[in-house]
C-alpha cells in the first residue's frame, strides 16, 4: 500500500506504533484538529494502548481524544480552551477526572492559548492580545497571561507567554516520504500553530503521494518537509472525527459513546470492545462497523 519513497532521499515514513514510540512519558504533546474535525485519532488510540504516562496534553478545543487519553490513564494535565463532545453533550470521562482531581486542567481562552503557542513558535517571550480582558480567565494564570498597559496608548492588553511543546501530532490528507504535507483542500484549523510551536512534528495522513505530486501543485503544500519529522500513513486516521472533505464524523459513534457512559459497566465494555481492545487500526475500524460505517460517513461531493 505504501509507495516507495523518493529515491535517494531519507524517508520519514513510520508505522503508527513506531511514531507513537516517539512520545515519551511526561512529554507535552499538542493535538491537531478541532472538536469533531481532523483529530489524529488513530495516533491517539495508539498512545492510549501503549499506556504512555504523565502527558501534558495541549488541546485548544477538543473532546473525544481527551476522553480516550484520560480513560487510559495517560494524562497528568490538560491545557485547553474548551472540552466537550459538542452537540453530543459534555465529555463524561474528562469531566469526572477533572471533578475528582485525577486530571489537572490548565485553562485558557482559545485565543490566548493560540497566542501562547505562537510565542513558542516564533521564539518570542510573549504574543499580545486583547482577548480575556475583563473576564476571570486571566486571573487563572497571571504568570502566563499577563495583563499589561501600553506605555504610549494607555491601552490594556494581555501578554501571552511562550508555551513550548515537545511533540505536535496533526492529521492531514497526504504527504510524501520526505515530509511534505498537504491538507486538502486547505488547512482551516490551528494545526499550523502547533506545527510551528513544537520541537517535533508527527503527521498522520490519509495517503502517501509521490514527491512529484507536490512539485506538480506546490501551492497546495501546507507544511514543508523541513517542518515535519515523522509521517504515518493512516487511512481513516481521524475516525470517529471527520477528515474534510473525504469523510464526516461518525455521529452514531458519539451517540453510542454517550449512551454507554450512562453506566460504568457499559462504559467499560464500550471502551474495551470499540476503542482500546482492537489490536490494529483496521481491527478498530472493524469493531465500529467496518466498511458499512466507512461508506456511511464517506462524504458525497456536493
Amino acid at each position: 500500500m505504501t509507495i516507495t519513497g523518493s529515491v535517494g532521499f531519507e524517508s520519514k515514513l513510520r508505522t503508527l506504533e513506531e511514531a507513537a514510540g516517539e512520545v515519551a512519558d511526561g512529554a507535552t504533546i499538542a493535538l491537531g484538529g478541532l472538536s469533531m474535525n481532523a483529530v489524529p485519532m488513530a495516533f491517539v488510540r495508539e498512545l492510549a494502548r501503549r499506556k504512555v504516562r504523565d502527558l501534558t496534553v495541549v488541546a485548544i478545543v477538543h473532546g473525544m481524544p481527551l476522553e480516550w487519553l484520560v480513560a487510559a490513564g495517560c494524562v497528568r494535565k490538560v491545557v485547553s480552551g474548551l472540552v466537550s463532545l459538542e452537540g453530543f453533550g459534555l465529555a463524561p470521562r474528562f469531566r469526572a477526572a477533572v471533578q475528582s482531581g485525577e486530571v489537572a486542567i490548565e485553562e485558557y481562552s482559545e485565543h490566548t492559548l493560540i497566542c501562547r503557542l505562537q510565542a513558542a513558535g516564533y521564539g518570542l517571550p510573549f504574543v499580545p492580545t486583547k482577548a480575556g480582558l475583563g473576564t476571570d480567565m486571566l486571573a487563572l494564570h497571571p504568570e502566563t497571561t499577563r495583563e499589561e498597559v501600553d506605555e504610549t496608548t494607555g491601552e490594556a492588553y494581555v501578554e501571552c507567554t511562550a508555551l513550548p511543546v515537545d511533540v505536535a501530532i496533526v492529521h492531514a490528507d497526504a504527504a510524501d516520504t520526505r515530509g511534505n504535507v498537504r491538507v486538502d483542500p486547505k488547512l482551516v484549523w490551528m494545526d499550523s500553530e502547533l506545527v510551528k510551536a513544537a520541537a517535533r512534528v508527527i503527521v498522520t495522513v490519509e495517503r502517501i503521494l509521490p514527491e512529484r505530486a507536490f512539485r506538480a501543485a506546490p501551492e497546495r503544500t501546507t507544511y514543508p518537509r523541513f517542518a515535519v519529522d515523522t509521517v504515518v500513513e493512516a487511512p481513516w486516521g481521524a475516525y470517529p472525527t471527520s477528515s474534510y472533505p473525504t469523510y464526516g464524523y461518525d455521529g452514531a459513534f458519539f451517540e453510542a459513546y454517550q449512551r454507554a457512559h450512562a453506566d460504568p459497566a457499559t462504559a467499560a465494555s464500550f471502551w474495551e470492545e470499540r476503542i482500546a481492545g482492537p489490536e490494529t487500526h483496521a481491527a478498530f475500524l472493524d469493531a465500529n462497523g467496518g466498511p458499512e460505517t466507512l461508506l456511511r460517513i464517506a462524504r458525497r461531493p456536493t
Binding site: L34, E86, G87, K130, D136, V188, Y244
Partner: protein
Amino acid sequence: MSAATIDELMVVTLARAFTNETRAFNGAVSFVPVCAYLLARRTHAPELVWAASSLAVDADPKSIPESTLSDGLWDGASMLSNSAYDFWSYAQGRRYNTFAFRGAQMDAYGNVNNTTIGPYASPKVRLPGGGGMADLGCMIPLIFLWSTTHDPRTFVEKLDFRSGIGWGDGGDHRARLGLPGGPQLCVTNLCVFDFDPDSKRMRIRSVHPGVTVEQVVEATGFELAPSPGGVPETDAPTDEELRVLREEVDPTGARLREFR
C-alpha cells in the same frame, strides 16, 4: 401555516436584529443563531455575512448537522478560511462585527459563565470552558445573547465564573477596558432583554405570547432595569419567515437540540 413554536419565535426574533451590515460567524452548539443568520440572509438581509464554524464564509448548507462546528455546515461557501490567519485576524481587526453566545449562567450585564458551577478549584459541575467567548467578547462590537433555559439558575445575580465579558461591571466598563460595543439583545424562551443605555443592566424589551412580566421577573435571578414605556408582546413571525425557517433553513429541526 401553523403557529410559531418557541424555538421558531426565538430564531425569528434574533434574525430580525440582523442587517445587511451584519458580518457574523458562529461557535459550538449555536443552533439558534446559525438558524437566525441563515433566515435573515434569506429574507431581509441578503448581504449579511455569516462564516459557518467561523471558517466557511457565505456557506449555504442544505440542512444543519448535530455540530455547528462541523464541516457538514460548509457546503456552498465562497471562502474556506484559515482559523488563525484569517478568522482571528478579521475578528480582531473589526471586519467581523457580530457574535452570539450563551452561558450556563448569565448576569444582569450580559456576562456569561461556561466554565464551572461552584468554586473553580472544586467545581460542582465542570462545564466545557469559555473557549472563544473570553476572546470574542473582547473583540466584537455587536454581541447577542440567547438562552433556552430562562430560570433563576441561569440568570443569576453573581456568576460563579466570568468566562466571557458582556458589559462587564456595567456603565462604561467596556470602554474603560478599550473594548468595542457590547451586548445588544438577549433572546430567551420567555422574553427579549435589551440593556439600559446608562447602567447597561438587562431590561425587558418584550415578552413572548402567553408570558407575563411577573413570570419573567420570577424566572430572573437579578434585579432588572425598568423598561421605559412599558413592555409589549414580542412581534409574531410572519408566515414567510416560518416557511423559510421550516423548509429551507433548518428542515431537520437541528435547533431543537437546544430545547431538550
